[in-house]
């Protein structure tokens, strides 16, 4: 079947989509957007986190045809304003050493973006709760918490 939807602000079309395939598969294999990672395909790891009409979801659990006519935003779509640079959350992850192998990073950055959009100055408990669906096998999470705190402090500086 043919799928037409909006990806990172651009209208896209995918042909020969098998109706049972996931949005994750379409993004990675048909749209050429490998930023969204595939690790578990069962909603456990969060590395496939994307926005579907502004809601944070696991792309592996959305049937591709369910995205018909909808807007998807992936990690590739976060830094579009900064001319090839990084947005402030990505920058904070780099600076705090929150990235080791990097496999979990796009999902964690999406989850952090969602958290800070709704809760600009989160408590540690709120950070842990918001990132509970994102697994990291490398960092032990401490640096990731540092990254979120740094991103939050910068965000509150720029948006009074």
């Amino acid at each position: 079947m043919r799928l037409t939807f909006d990806v990172n602000g651009v209208g896209q079309q995918a042909d020969d989509v098998w109706p049972g395939e996931s949005l994750l598969y379409v993004l990675r294999e048909r749209m050429g957007l490998p930023g969204t990672k595939n690790a578990c395909e069962q909603g456990e790891c969060g590395s496939c986190s994307v926005y579907l009409d502004g809601t944070l979801v696991c792309a592996c659990l959305v049937a591709a045809p369910q995205a018909q006519g909808r807007a998807v935003r992936t990690v590739e779509g976060l830094a579009t304003d900064s001319a090839g640079g990084l947005d402030h959350i990505q920058q904070a992850f780099v600076e705090t050493g929150a990235v080791q192998c990097g496999f979990c990073t796009p999902g964690l950055i999406m989850a952090t973006d969602d958290l800070l959009a709704n809760t600009p100055t989160p408590s540690d408990a709120e950070i842990r709760e918001a990132l509970a669906g994102n697994l990291c096998r490398c960092t032990g999470y401490e640096k990731i918490l540092d990254a979120v705190r740094l991103a939050a402090s910068r965000r509150t500086e720029v948006t009074p």
């Binding site: 986190s49 979801v57 592996c60 049937a63 969602d114 509970a132 994102n134």
Partner: protein, 290 residues
């Protein structure tokens, strides 16, 4: 595989009647795992996301009518104070990403004894609105489940909404798992106090073939509360009464040994959760001013 879209309840029922082999998909958080791992290969999927009324909730005559596809996140944020037990349980489901997609309709249709929305719906005396082109009916949640992953839902029927009475007293839910987030429960317990009726209702999750009500524990507690005139005095509840209530609730569990826990552990943990939820709800009842 075909993919069918429905824009309204009637369209969804017609599609299901025409294609009985079509499997409904709502949030996909149960179904997509099966598809991704090739455990299920239905001939057709019927998408319920486009049915606008499924994503609405409304207040009707002392009830909240929650559309089958209202996700857990919205239950927590929008109607938490009306259906507190269900909201507490919803908060324990998966992760933010799962709660953003997972729905009551999916939780009911999956009919897992570990479905976290189910015990609070039982103790609140919720009813499920189901229908097909043959007609519509309402089924009390207490009569909905017939076995593990089995319910009274007919093959051509869809769940339309869940009717939950607005809480008339304190409600609680507690769950045991290996960590704080992203766990299928080892066991759980929901409790509702109904002060106006002077009754209580408990329900066990994940320690039997279905979620299980706890009538012996309820009768014991109702008698104690009446004999000691505690509904009126709002006095402190004896530790021994709470413990006995827990033991009687635990005796209703019909657990098995599995990877998540042994039967003995589950029976014990249900008793502990029942005692604690009673202490929490009673404390809340004592604090509430009439």
């Amino acid at each position: 595989m075909d993919f069918l879209y429905a824009r309204s309840w009637d369209e969804a029922l017609a599609a299901k009647a025409e294609r009985p082999d079509a499997v409904p998909i709502s949030g996909g958080t149960d179904l997509m795992v099966d598809l991704n791992f090739d455990r299920r290969r239905p001939d057709a999927l019927l998408d319920l996301n486009g049915v606008e009324e499924f994503t609405r909730w409304e207040r009707v005559n002392g009830h909240v009518r929650i559309g089958a596809a209202v996700p857990f996140t919205r239950i927590i944020n929008e109607i938490g104070s009306l259906v507190p037990g269900l909201a507490i349980a919803s908060r324990t489901v998966g992760s933010p990403q799962i709660r953003n997609r997972g729905t009551l309709g999916g939780n009911l249709a999956t009919a897992s004894p570990a479905g976290d929305a189910l015990p609070p719906l039982m103790v609140a005396d919720a009813t499920v609105e189901v229908g097909s082109v043959r007609g519509e009916r309402t089924v009390p949640v207490r009569e909905f489940f017939t076995g593990p992953k089995r319910s009274v839902l007919e093959p051509d029927e869809l769940i339309r909404a869940v009717l939950v009475p607005v809480a008339d007293g304190p409600q609680q839910f507690a769950k045991v798992g290996t960590r704080n987030a992203m766990v299928i429960s080892v066991c759980s317990f929901a409790l509702a106090l109904h002060p106006a009726r002077r009754t209580v209702a408990g329900c066990i999750g994940s320690a039997g073939p279905t979620v299980l009500p706890t009538p012996d524990a309820e009768q014991y507690l109702e008698a104690e509360l009446a004999d000691r005139r505690l509904w009126d005095s709002r006095a402190e509840l004896d530790e021994a009464v709470a413990t006995r209530f827990g033991e009687l609730a635990g005796a209703h569990a019909r657990p098995i040994d599995d990877v998540r826990g042994t039967a003995d552990y589950r029976r014990h943990a249900v008793a502990v959760l029942a005692r604690r939820t009673l202490q929490w709800t009673w404390t809340e009842y004592r604090r509430a001013q009439r």
